[in-house]
């Protein structure tokens, strides 16, 4: 069962590229200025109280290019970041003045108009998650995390991730997902959808397939065969008991 490892293993293909910084279409967004500004602001949000000044003072033109942007952005507030890192060794706990009682204090994310700057909230949360991924923290019931990404309104996500993300959100992807659920299911040859008189399970199945499509990289969607293999492999493992007793059946 060497196959098992390769098929089951949680998709290093989709994992790897997303972990590391990768050149992404987003960088070609129509508003490079805005984007670079945001990026710099984000980099300035070191877990220690870093004055955001140096970041704003450097509207680097290079920032319009994704990969190059990272360098000046990181370089500009170099000192505070380094300080943060040093402190991180002593006490790796995530800290940010706007992170209060397990959530982002929205009152500290006001922009000039007084409305919440959701983009900054998204930046801050991405930063927090990245921080925790690098140095996981003890979960604590006294100091529970209560922040919920769903408080960020949908339009903030759409605005932020304009083209590619909005496209994924729209009906087209949903339709693809929906048909895929049934399509993949019929390919497995076992009719899970039919077999389950239970709507909840059907929903799970639907969500699951939609999820695979969303979580995956676009390129993978083209790679239909892999997706199908993945969803049928487990079935084959279950069915093999029933196969080897038919004289003409494939021996496993």
């Amino acid at each position: 069962m060497a196959m098992a490892t390769s098929t089951f293993s949680p998709h290093p293909l989709s994992l790897k590229p997303q972990l590391g910084p990768r050149p992404h279409r987003l960088h070609l967004a129509p508003f490079p200025r805005l984007r670079s500004h945001r990026r710099l602001a984000a980099a300035g949000e070191a877990p220690v109280e870093a004055p955001p000044k140096p970041a704003e003072a450097d509207p680097s033109p290079a920032a319009s290019n994704g990969s190059a942007a990272a360098a000046p952005a990181a370089a500009a507030p170099a000192a505070p970041v380094a300080a943060a890192k040093a402190e991180a060794v002593a006490s790796p706990k995530f800290q940010d003045s706007r992170w209060v009682n397990g959530t982002w204090d929205l009152s500290r994310f006001g922009n000039t108009g007084g409305a919440v700057d959701w983009d900054a909230v998204i930046d801050a949360e991405a930063r927090r998650r990245k921080w925790l991924e690098d140095s996981p923290e003890a979960s604590s019931s006294e100091d529970a995390v209560v922040f919920d990404t769903s408080i960020i309104p949908w339009w903030a996500w759409i605005k932020r991730f304009h083209l590619p993300e909005a496209e994924k959100l729209n009906g087209r992807a949903a339709m693809v997902g929906f048909f895929m659920a049934y399509f993949v299911d019929s390919l497995t040859g076992v009719g899970l959808v039919d077999q389950m008189g239970n709507f909840f399970c059907k929903t799970l199945l639907f969500v699951a397939v939609a999820g695979v499509l969303l979580v995956r990289k676009n390129e993978d969607i083209d790679n239909l065969k892999k997706l199908i293999d993945e969803s049928t492999f487990y079935d084959k493992q279950w069915q093999s008991t029933w196969q080897d007793d038919s004289p003409s059946g494939p021996k496993k």
Binding site: A70, D134, A138, W157, F161, F200, L204, A208, W238, Q243
Partner: protein, 462 residues
């Protein structure tokens, strides 16, 4: 069984109309099975009873031996270690308590709050929707296994302390199997035991993940996860937190493809994790699990360290002649939740019932088709459960972003009610279409948000 070869073909072919699609088991197939054993298989000579050896005295073996003995079959159960303390979380669903008539004092703890903790430490208490009498039972395996074995003995099964070595298949058609084992006798204090053998008509392999019965019958291998667990005795005040609570941690730090757990035991907690894909890193994942639970288990003393394989899927072959497999030996552990005790006991009992029926209460010989009836029924009943959990694991344990979405999804009352109902009672309750649509929309929303955030994380350098 010609329909089976076509089902295999159908599984591979694409674009088949649904009407010629194959079913996993049961359904059309079970109708095709010819019921004949009880009617046509030979009566046992001299009025002797059917003899069956059950190898292994875990939940699968104990349940099988009891049902066999009750059904009038002469049953011998071999267990190599009577006080075996199988490395196990020990969580059992509520329906197991009633279906297997377990006395309530067997249940050390009643967990009513399952805390699920995401990579960014968002914690969700699952269990808000539980009715006052509902809980997840926590048992000690040495106690449960012993109880089931004793009950089998009371029902008339002979329980032997010995190490099963191998079996010999019969030379002639209706001949007997010879079981070779190492007999342990505590009374004469002989170490290593004494080689003995006996004859039986059928063998039930319930000897767990490293099954020797499976090896002898050429059942083939399965992919397995390695699970690591430390029993930690924590201070009383910390223990109070785990009184009726269990924790599940998800994240790339604790396991790339499973979860880390803290399960309460009678007077200590079990802290563990598992993985299929990165077995070499298991110690690292265990350290990460410990770290994430740090505040709650601080000051604890590790009293026992254990590790054990967990099968990922059934073996390619689960029956050969009059030998069949049940429980972990067959490979019945669910993905995603890693649950196997109930399915072990249930498969043991179902297998025994098929033998009892096929042998007309132990008066006739059985054959492979009788044992296949148990397999068909088991697959029909539980395959959808296994499949759904496989899908859930593939989708939601694949990355930290997906795990965040998973935890968000679990915060939903409707999801909690549905998952608990299916876990506790092993039945599928019809859902509510409106709630389902809401759930689908919300979960996809969660996935999109988590993926979007991850994309941003990819661009960050800390």
């Amino acid at each position: 069984m010609t329909s089976l070869s076509s089902s295999a073909a159908a599984a591979r072919a694409t674009f088949l109309p649904s009407s010629c699609r194959a079913r996993p088991a049961g359904g059309r197939r079970s109708q095709l099975l010819v019921t004949r054993a009880a009617a046509s298989s030979p009566k046992l000579p001299g009025g002797r009873k059917l003899r069956v050896a059950v190898v292994g005295g875990g939940p699968a073996g104990g349940a099988a031996a009891e049902a066999l003995a009750k059904g009038g079959v002469e049953t011998v159960l071999i267990e190599r270690k009577m006080d075996n303390c199988k490395p196990c979380g020990g969580a059992i669903p509520l329906c197991m308590v009633s279906e297997f008539d377990l006395p309530l004092d067997l249940v050390d703890r009643r967990v009513t709050k399952m805390k699920m903790i995401s990579p960014s430490n968002v914690a969700v208490d699952i269990g808000r929707t539980l009715a006052p009498h509902e809980y997840i039972g926590m048992v000690r395996r040495e106690v449960l296994d012993d109880f089931l074995r004793n009950r089998a003995q009371k029902a008339g099964a002979e329980v032997l302390n010995g190490l099963f070595l191998r079996y010999e298949a019969p030379k002639e058609r209706n001949g007997t199997y010879t079981v070779h084992y190492n007999h342990y006798d505590s009374s004469n204090g002989k170490v290593g035991g004494e080689k003995r053998s006996f004859e039986v008509d059928a063998i039930v392999g319930a000897d767990g993940a490293n099954s020797r019965v499976a090896k002898d019958m050429g059942a083939g291998d399965y992919e397995y996860a390695i699970a690591f667990q430390e029993r930690v005795k924590i201070p009383d005040d910390k223990m109070r937190y785990y009184e009726e609570r269990a924790e599940m941690y998800v994240g790339d730090d604790v396991s790339p493809d499973f979860y880390g757990w803290v399960f309460p035991k009678c007077d200590h907690v079990a802290v563990g994790t598992g993985t299929v894909t990165h077995k070499a890193d298991i110690k690292k994942f265990q350290a990460a699990t410990r770290l994430r639970a740090k505040d709650k288990i601080e000051g604890g003393k590790i009293i026992r360290v254990e590790a054990h394989p967990i099968p990922e899927h059934p073996r390619p072959k689960r029956v050969s002649g009059r030998v069949t497999l049940v429980g972990d030996a067959a490979g019945y552990v669910t993905k995603c939740s890693g649950e196997g005790i109930y399915f072990a006991a249930k498969s043991g009992r179902m297998c025994a019932e098929a033998i009892v029926a096929g042998s007309a209460n132990g008066t006739r010989l059985v054959d492979e088709s009788d044992l296949r009836k148990y397999l068909a029924e088991f697959d029909r009943l539980y395959w959808p459960t296994y499949k759904v959990l496989d899908i859930l694991q593939k989708v939601f344990y694949r990355s930290n972003a997906a795990r965040e979405a998973f935890v968000e999804m679990c915060a939903d009352d409707y999801v909690q009610r549905m998952t608990f109902d299916s876990y506790l009672y092993k039945r599928v309750v019809p859902g509510n279409p409106i709630e389902d649509i809401k759930l689908a929309v919300n979960t996809i929303g969660s996935l999109v948000r988590a993926t979007a955030l991850r994309r941003e994380m990819g661009k960050l350098t800390l």
